[in-house]
Symmetry: C2
Subunit: 356 residues, 2 copies
């Protein structure tokens, strides 16, 4: 079968012919439909994130997949023909008990990222309990389930973080109108959160800004209104979702929160030394009962909720985010596209291995 891989030190994806994998006990064989590309893939290619499978000279790329069950163990609930999305994390060795999505990353394997082959191949195998069914109608866009699951977990953690206090999620501010920010915004719009704001630094006309506004949110141009000025110009919000990976946003987020508000951080920035008023940060958190919660990865329950959210998205949004899908033979375009929704650029890319 064909597989998209990265070799040690190459920095570029390579198309490679590999044997079709054999499912082990408890595993299903999945025929891959589409696999999304994101910033983590770029970091993996650059060698800046993750690690190769042990004793391997290459790693199959890709962690945002949707496929169709080809075969599954007789005692599983998965039937051949069922579209499914695989989760990313796997236990490393015997591993620890407890939820994988809460484990330290160094104690986990992550398919297509850290120590385990990914899903960018015509077939992959995975334990049946890691495969989340998706309805056929949304299967072509279901490579978005993985990023939506990351948002679902963050919303779950952020909401729970306020469960002991007087708080309701009426208003929210998403930092970043990349594909993660946009699915976060859409998940909040689906929950009826209003008003909604989304910050980025984009020149109109811009397709991402169009989506922000079509979702009923207010676009905030960070060049005119930085995060720290948000609360002067708009009402401070109950929830902020950071999806920029811009390090100062972790601290600046606090200033945009209403009393009792929470900021969910999703980005993984590089080191960035800056002078900060730590006294003010500390006091602003305490005096106004605010919270900062970091969130990474997602568990099966978040994937299940993400499938529901993807189904609830307006069809135009699913279509728009799944518009730039490239054939395997054209894989370089999927990786090389500056997929940020800038004028004439795709919002999100994926590689297609097969169709339903």
């Amino acid at each position: 079968m064909q597989a998209l891989t990265v070799e040690r030190g190459s920095g570029r994806p390579t198309l490679r012919e590999l044997p079709r994998p054999e499912p082990g006990p408890g595993e299903a064989l999945v025929r891959t439909l589409r696999v999304g590309v994101d910033a983590t893939d770029a970091d993996v290619l650059a060698g800046a994130h993750g690690r190769f499978p042990e004793d391997e000279e290459y790693m199959i790329l890709g962690h945002e997949a949707v496929g169709v069950v080809e075969s599954a163990p007789a005692d599983s609930e998965l039937a051949a023909g069922q579209p499914v999305v695989p989760t990313v994390r796997r236990r490393a060795g015997a591993g620890e008990d407890g939820a994988l999505d809460m484990a330290a990353p160094e104690d986990c394997l992550e398919r297509g990222i850290a120590g385990a082959h990914g899903f960018m191949a015509e077939y992959f195998t995975s334990p049946v309990e890691t495969l989340v069914p998706v309805p056929r109608a949304v299967a072509p866009a279901a490579f978005l389930v993985e990023p939506v699951s990351v948002v679902e977990k963050a919303l779950s953690v952020a909401t729970a973080s306020r469960s002991a206090v007087d708080w309701s999620l009426d208003s929210a501010f998403v930092l970043g109108a990349g594909s993660l920010g946009l699915v976060g915004l859409a998940a909040l719009a689906d929950r009826g959160v209003d008003p909604l704001y989304c910050l980025d630094r984009r020149e109109r006309p811009d397709p991402a800004v169009d989506i922000v506004e079509r979702l009923g949110a207010t676009y905030v141009d960070g060049r005119e209104t930085p995060v720290t000025a948000f609360a002067e110009r708009h009402d401070p919000v109950d929830l902020l979702v950071e999806a920029t990976g811009h390090a100062p946003h972790a601290v600046e987020a606090v200033s945009a929160l209403a009393p009792g508000g929470v900021a969910a951080l999703l980005g993984l920035p590089d080191s960035d030394r800056q002078e900060v008023d730590l006294g003010r940060l500390h006091r602003d958190l305490v005096m106004y009962n605010r919270a900062l919660v970091g969130s990474v990865n997602a568990g099966v329950r978040h994937y299940r909720r993400a499938v529901e959210t993807l189904v609830a998205f307006p069809a135009w949004l699913r279509d728009r985010l799944a518009a730039d899908v490239f054939a395997v033979t054209d894989y370089e375009a999927a990786f090389d596209a500056r997929a940020d929704g800038g004028q004439g650029r795709p919002l999100k890319t994926a590689v297609e291995f097969d169709t339903l």
Copy 2:
């Protein structure tokens, strides 16, 4: 009646003769027993925190009180002779709906702190719903209920913040062995949290360090093991409670947390500009699913829980923290004592207005 007040600009407490207050509709008249002194009182005296009641040239001090109901409305559940602890916050004007302890401080009055007279007088009045009953046996130490309520709210918020994820409160690290840190440590010991650690910068022998160890906790000398080195020498913890008001601790706390851990911040430091690696802070929060929660003040439910916690404290601890109580005539000693538990110094002071 006698009252301890601060006059505008004086910076010092003054004993003043005032008329006994008349309870309004729905209010009880309370005969004051004891009122604790804390760092907030020092800030109020210095003019660094809070504000005077409108149109008043003085403010009655004190927010950590215990008293005895002298008279209460016939339809209330409070009977004369019942020891009670008053909450601190009151609605400012018509105020907003919602929990007072979650409101912005500028939207509240705080008795003895911001815009409302405190409890350092022979009598005070307060709405019956703000008076929390305490058993007679612990009444002499019940000026500690207010600081314990602050800890109870923080523990409630911190625990709730992890309710959506795989987490249990097995280990904890308290920063600061002042009276707030010690009651926090004792509240955690009462919950069976083990191991427990407490950081301060004290020379042995020291009464606060003795209490830390008598509570079964490990004393961590911050001069030898700063917060940032904690996780190298001990296992990282599920919960950290910051009770130092040292600004860098808000950020350093993250490094002492296990994956999925939470730090509860209680301090209110002054501005403190420092160079910080914001990328690392951001990544350390996200990659390990960690949370930072600020918490201030407390609601009636936290006071009720604090009464239970105070009752559950070992008697020696209640006695030790209530050992340095000064007569009204000796009020200057209560305020002037460097109440930090250093060798020969009290751990905590209070002023006594009357006995049960």
